[in-house]
C-alpha cells in the first residue's frame, strides 16, 4: 500500500469525528459526576442545619 493523501485524510477524519464525540460524552459524564458530588455535599450541609 502506497501513501495516499485522500486515503489518509478519510481515515484520519473518521477517527477525529469519533474521538470528538467520545470526548463530549466523557466531559458530560465528568460534569454530571461533579454535579452529583456537589449536590451530595449540599444535602449533607442542609441536613446539619435542619433542626
Amino acid at each position: 500500500m502506497s501513501g495516499n493523501p485522500y486515503l489518509f485524510a478519510a481515515y484520519a477524519v473518521t477517527w477525529v469525528i469519533h474521538i470528538v464525540y467520545i470526548s463530549t460524552i466523557v466531559s458530560r459524564y465528568a460534569r454530571l459526576k461533579r454535579e452529583i458530588k456537589e449536590a451530595g455535599v449540599r444535602s449533607q450541609v442542609s441536613g446539619v442545619r435542619k433542626p
Partner: protein, 230 residues
C-alpha cells in the same frame, strides 16, 4: 455490568486494530482506483451502521408512542445521536473518495442528496430534543423519528430508482467483489458495530444518570420552596 464494559472495550479496540490491518494491508489493491478505494472499508460500514441505528431509533420511537416507556425514549435519543455521528463519517469520507475518482467533491445526485436530507432530518431531531423544553418533546421527537425512518429505504434504494453518479452495490445482485475485500469489509463492519454498541451503551448510561439528576433537582426545588440551590 461495570466489569464487562472495560473487557468489551479492550476486545473492540483489538478488533478495530485488526480491521485497520485488513483494510490497509490484507485487502488487495483495486485495479482502477488504486489505494484510494480502501476508503470503502470505512465509508460503507459507517452508512450501514448509521442505517441500523436509525432502524433501532424507529423501533424505539414506535414503542414509545404506544407504551410511553422512558427507557425506549432514551434508546431512541441515543441511537439517533450515534447514528448521526456514523452518517457524518459516511458523508465526509464520500467526498474525499469522490474527488480523486470522479474529479469532483460533490454532485447533487439522488443518493448523495437523499443521504444529506436524511442526515438533516436526524440533526433536526437532535436539535428538537436539545432545545425544546416542552413536556411533549419526546412525543414530537418520536413522531419525527418515524418520518425520518421512512427516508432510510428511499436513500438505500435510490440507486435503483434513479440514474445516479453513485455506484451500484458491489455485493448481492449489484455486482461482485474479491472475497478478501469482502472479508475486510465484514471485519470493519463488525468492529465498528461493536464500537457503536459500546458508544450507545455509554451514552445510554449518561442519559439515564442525567435524567435521574434532573429528577432529583426537581424534587429538591419542590421540597425547598424558598429557592432552588441551582
Amino acid at each position: 455490568m461495570k466489569r464487562i464494559f472495560p473487557i468489551l472495550g479492550v476486545l473492540t479496540a483489538i478488533l478495530l486494530i485488526y480491521a485497520l490491518y485488513q483494510a490497509l494491508v490484507a485487502a488487495p489493491t483495486e485495479r482502477t482506483m488504486g489505494d484510494v478505494q480502501r476508503i470503502f472499508y470505512y465509508h460503507v460500514p459507517s452508512a450501514i451502521i448509521g442505517f441500523m441505528l436509525f432502524f433501532i431509533n424507529f423501533g424505539a420511537s414506535v414503542y414509545y408512542l404506544i407504551k410511553r416507556n422512558p427507557a425506549a425514549d432514551i434508546v431512541a435519543l441515543v441511537t439517533a445521536e450515534v447514528g448521526v455521528v456514523f452518517l457524518t463519517v459516511n458523508l465526509v469520507t464520500g467526498p474525499i473518495w469522490a474527488r480523486p475518482v470522479w474529479g469532483i467533491w460533490w454532485t447533487w445526485d439522488m443518493r448523495l442528496t437523499s443521504t444529506l436530507v436524511l442526515w438533516l432530518i436526524y440533526v433536526s431531531y437532535l436539535f428538537l430534543r436539545r432545545f425544546s423544553s416542552s413536556g411533549e418533546t419526546p412525543l414530537l421527537a418520536a413522531a419525527l423519528a418515524v418520518l425520518g425512518a421512512l427516508t432510510v429505504p428511499f436513500v438505500y434504494f435510490s440507486i435503483w430508482f434513479f440514474r445516479t453518479q453513485h455506484p451500484q452495490p458491489v455485493m448481492g445482485s449489484g455486482g461482485s467483489i474479491d472475497p478478501r475485500m469482502l472479508h475486510a469489509l465484514f471485519i470493519n463492519w463488525l468492529a465498528f458495530s461493536c464500537f457503536a454498541f459500546l458508544v450507545c451503551w455509554s451514552r445510554y448510561r449518561l442519559e439515564k444518570l442525567q435524567r435521574e439528576v434532573d429528577h432529583a433537582h426537581a424534587l429538591e426545588s419542590l421540597m425547598d420552596p424558598r429557592g432552588s440551590t441551582r
